[in-house]
Amino acid sequence: MTSVKLGTYSMRISTIGYCLKQGLKNIWRNKMFSLASIATMSICIFLFGLFFCVVQNFQYMVKEVESGVSVTVFFDEDISQDEAAMKEIGAKIAAREEVEEAQFVSAEETWESYKDIYFAEAPHLAEGFANDNPLAKQAHYVIYPKDVEDQNSLVEYLESVEGIRRVNKSVEVANILTNFNLLVGYVSVAIIILLLCVSVFLISNTVTIGIAVRKEEIAIMKLIGATNSFVKAPFVVEGLLIGIIGGAIPLGLLYLLYTRLIRYMGGQFDNLAGLMQFLPVDQMFRTLLPVGLALGAGIGFFGSYLTIRKHLRV
């Protein structure tokens, strides 16, 4: 006979089938309460998913921004046109442990990129400077630290190097983003915990009503000699199913919405593409799907298990 070990006793496959069927019947019998529980669970998991997407995307964007965080170094006027002297200092900087990369940008390259940005719509205006680079003394190094946290010590070092006129840093942007990210994270966690408590409460209510409706049946079961687990199983199955259904619906909805959002943002706001890098759908749902479903199933399971334990001292 096919049997599986479940807790302290073995259960036949047919019994598991019976419990599943009874769990489904319970849901059907208390249609309105089951629907209310599924709806609340769906809202909770939907909001969870929403916050999850926001936090994940924020983290992703911050990471992207952090990887672009750099320090720009300009040189003293007397050496600002002496490429060899500048490169000598550059080599010294590049040799530092906290430096990932040090890129030399010559005065010509600086002028070219300046022109691209500011004279893009009227290139003829820049022609007057053809033989007289106004940024002749703006050759510089762009230095990428290995870690954003190393930036402050790196800047301190750079400011002490002889021949360096100015150090531009962009660490504030990353700091603001990181702090905001943390804030979003904390608020999300607080709201999610609140919603989860509401879900547990509602599932508990549904199961309590199921127990009240089936009081006589439970009494008969106990008199016939049903074990505690046999009496409890259909209720736990009921909670578990409500949890899984209440998890699957919002996750499907979120998948659709997220895919559309990314497509829409990509199409409508081309210029934001560099700033707002969204986490790809498959990468997002690789984590969100199992976490969301496990959360739904977990709330359903524990919500019903604890309730039946409380109400059925069998």
Partner: protein, 229 residues
């Protein structure tokens, strides 16, 4: 088979439902327990089902001391005891077949055995044709027969019947009693709690009469009247 030794059951209100009751029922016996309301009959059934704990005294069933039985051993113990009630206690949302199969599912019987056992039980109680009917489509007598089939399907060695004819007319009562006798003849110990005087007089079985929690008489092949009053 069933042994009670100086059993007392007092409720928190101070009422003594049973007061120093001692009795012995042998394997295969058919016993009536008679008495007025409040005589302690139903408390006795509840003690035997281990729904209640005695305040003092010892209860032994099938050689097991119920006082020492652990909570988790109760389901297994109850599987050896069939029970029927005055109000039948059938599941109203399930048909006759499912009501009986339910008792088998509870004790985790394989489906193929259930398919064999349930029709056999229905034939025994004479309801083979009505396996698809729902309780509300059956008469009181038929419902009690379904309850009997459910109590017997797990092959208990003791059958406890608490006022089994309480809701039935004389004709149906007689038929249920006949069925209980058949079951008893097949080897099951039958204990019937009743105040149906006519039935007790007709059956000529052992009768234990109770009054205010004590046994006032215990005689074999007896009638009701001489003991209850």
């Amino acid at each position: 088979m069933i042994d009670l030794e100086n059993v007392t059951k007092a409720y928190s209100t101070g009422n003594h439902a049973l007061n120093g009751v001692s009795l012995h029922i042998d394997k295969g016996e058919f016993v009536f327990i008679v008495g007025d309301s409040g005589s302690g009959k139903s408390t006795l059934i509840k003690l035997l089902l281990k729904e209640l704990e005695p305040t003092s005294g010892t209860i032994k069933v099938n050689g097991i001391n119920l006082n020492k039985m652990k909570q988790r051993a109760i389901p297994k113990y109850r599987r050896k005891i069939g029970v029927v009630f005055q109000d039948f206690r059938l599941l109203k949302d399930r048909n006759v077949y499912e009501n009986i199969a339910f008792a088998q599912r509870v004790v985790i019987t394989p489906t193929k055995n259930i398919r064999k056992n349930v029709p056999a039980m229905l034939s025994l109680v004479g309801l083979a044709e009505k396996y698809k009917s729902y309780p509300k489509q059956l008469s009181g007598g038929e419902q009690q027969r379904v309850a009997l089939a459910r109590a017997l399907v797990n092959k208990p060695n003791i059958l406890l019947a608490d006022e089994p004819t309480g809701n039935l007319d004389p004709k149906n009562s007689k038929e249920i009693m006949k069925l209980l006798e058949t079951i008893n003849e097949r080897g099951t110990t039958v204990v019937v709690v009743t105040h149906n005087q006519e039935i007790v007089d007709q059956m000529k079985k052992r009768v234990i009469a109770m009054h205010r929690g004590v046994i006032i008489s215990d005689e074999r092949k007896a009638g009701y009247i001489q003991h209850a009053n």
